[in-house]
């Protein structure tokens, strides 16, 4: 379980995250939503230990993350940033084996190989396992990166805009895979996401930020309401719910 206590982050004199305290629930998808510049990615990067908070602290199961060594943290939390402008000549399988690095330190055991195999199957990447990353489409590449993160076998996964630049089919595939990770394996997924409909339909929990402060925090049903979304995005919303899910319409209102 991740808890955040009075977290502040400033870049120079510009505050990006101001006094955020909250508790992320375990086992399930939590989406971080909010307009551009709300501090979502900054918050996620601080949880990932990729950014140092200006003040306040983050705790993992009660232990301050600053006191956890990088090598140890990689056994417990896996992070995937927006997939980088990548020019390495790596095959999908080679990339996924990097997910075992925190355990194997470069010497794969049979157990590591089994887990790599499992991740390839989990994301249905068998057909492209020997393809080179620079020859794949953006969606396939994102799936490969996700498989690497899955192979890290951590309880917590942090994903920074995993749906960026993906078509609907790949976006749905990724969200369904994350859903299965939580439901079948009991993992915790925290992700920054821009598409409000994906957030509303696939997450258990939603944390909404605006101008670096916490605006709403609760279950998906509690947060996704017309009034909340209007306050968050300064846009009129129509939220349509039925038994298949919910649709947030913000066009032509």
């Amino acid at each position: 379980m991740i808890t955040v206590h009075n977290l502040h982050k400033t870049y120079g004199t510009k505050p990006v995250v101001t006094d955020i305290s909250l508790e992320f629930p375990t086992a399930g998808i939590t989406s971080l939503i909010g307009p551009n510049g709300a501090g979502k990615s900054t918050l996620l990067m601080m949880i990932a230990k990729l950014l140092e908070p200006s003040s306040g602290h983050i705790a993992l199961n009660g232990q301050k993350v600053n006191n956890i060594k990088t090598a140890e943290y990689a056994h417990r939390v896996a992070t995937l940033r927006q997939s980088p402008g990548f020019n390495l000549r790596l095959t999908v399988e080679e990339l996924i084996s990097f997910g075992r690095f925190p355990y194997s330190r470069g010497h794969l055991t049979q157990e590591d190989r089994d887990i790599i195999e499992e991740s390839i199957e989990f994301l249905e990447l068998e057909a492209i396992r020997n393809a080179y990353l620079d020859e794949l489409s953006g969606g396939q590449r994102q799936m490969a990166f996700l498989a690497m993160t899955v192979a890290q076998k951590t309880d917590i996964l942090l994903l920074d805009e995993p749906l960026n630049n993906l078509d609907m089919k790949h976006a749905v595939q990724i969200m369904q895979a994350l859903r299965r990770l939580c439901d079948e394996q009991g993992r915790t997924v925290l992700l920054v996401i821009h598409d409000i409909n994906f957030a509303a339909n696939y997450s258990d929990h939603i944390v909404a930020l605006k101008n670096g402060t916490l605006k709403f925090n609760g279950s998906s049903e509690q947060v996704i309401t017309e009034n909340n979304l209007k306050a968050l995005y300064d846009l009129d919303f129509e939220v349509i719910r039925n038994k298949r899910g919910c649709l947030c319409n913000y066009f032509n209102l």
Binding site: F101, R105, H107, D134
Partner: protein
């Protein structure tokens, strides 16, 4: 052709090339010609290792394949020091100091420079390696200008000595400098050997490697230090190599067809060895020392490198 066959073939070819280099037109003169050539061969070997390893390491940690360590200004510091020596002590100053004395002092100065960059400049750049590169570039220009200023004040005779020093050459080393150099390089490689898988992870970039449990800042320091030592040794042994490292590393990436440093580094060393040997053979037997190894390598490899970039549209 299977991979192991390729490897053995290349090794055999390199060995043959070495024998050819030692024996061609030597009349089996074991008193003078062959010992001299063995010394050059050893210099080439050590120079290749330093150049190839430092270039590949540097490109991995900065995540860019068209940079080489010379951008940090190590070589310009070396040249500045040689110019200062010539200016203060004159042409015979170098003889007073002896080759090994100059070798030791040059290495110390370059290591001190790298230490200053690392402990003084890097924290001021907020540990941002790209800021460090930019500062390195600016420093290189400043130091080079200072060197040029001194060049204008020295006599033509001293100037020609200086020019000789600013080219890559395998004729400058002495057995004792080689021995010290080889010892230090062996220690460095021994230390770096176990961290090869970490280098593979670091090629994924800073954030991904931290996420995979690599203490990024610590290993950047380690590799910058290793690079500084290797570059210092190769520069004092064979002179500035400028951008040769870029050609060698990129040729190695293409030949290796993989990003595993365990594969890439030995291939890069072999590529560098072959290129140096062939260039030296040409300089000795075809051009009769009318051109220099640097000119030849930069000309041929530069063209090949441009062709490579054009063919792969910059994805290498």
């Amino acid at each position: 052709m299977s991979t192991s066959l390729k490897i053995w073939g290349t090794l055999l070819f390199t060995l043959l090339l070495m024998c050819f280099f030692i024996l061609i037109g030597s009349d089996l003169d074991f008193n003078y010609i062959i010992p001299k050539r063995l010394l050059r061969l050893a210099t080439i070997l050590l120079g290749s290792i330093c150049l190839a390893v430092s270039a590949v390491l540097f490109q991995t940690i900065v995540g860019n394949r068209i940079l080489s360590p010379s951008i940090m200004g190590y070589e310009s510091v070396y040249l500045l020091w040689q110019a200062v020596l010539l200016f203060m002590l004159g042409a015979h100053g170098l003889t007073i100091l002896s080759v090994s004395g100059n070798f030791a002092i040059s290495i110390t100065i370059m290591l001190f420079y790298s230490w200053a960059l690392h402990f003084w400049l890097l924290p001021r750049c907020k540990n941002n390696i790209f800021m460090l590169l930019l500062f390195g570039l600016v420093l290189t220009t400043v130091i080079t200008t200072a060197t040029q200023f001194i060049q204008l004040s020295i006599s033509p005779g001293e100037f020609s000595i200086f020019q000789g020093l600013s080219y890559t050459s395998f004729n400058r080393s002495k057995p004792e400098t080689l021995l010290y150099g080889a010892f230090i390089v062996a220690v460095c490689l021994w230390m770096g050997r176990k961290t090869l898988p970490i280098l593979d992870v670091m090629s994924l970039g800073k954030e991904q490697s931290i996420s995979l449990g690599v203490d990024h800042a610590k290993y950047i320091s380690l590799y910058l230090a290793l690079i500084a030592v290797l570059v210092a040794i190769s520069t004092s042994l064979i002179g500035p190599t400028g951008f040769m490292g870029i050609f060698i590393a990129n040729i190695a990436y293409v030949l290796a067809g993989s990003n595993k440093h365990r594969t890439v580094i030995p291939i890069a060393v072999t590529v560098s060895l072959i290129i140096f040997l062939v260039a030296q053979l040409f300089v000795e037997h075809v051009f009769n020392y009318k051109t220099s190894v640097s000119i030849l390598i930069n000309l041929v490899c530069g063209v090949y490198f441009l062709a490579l970039i054009a063919r792969t549209r910059g994805t290498t």
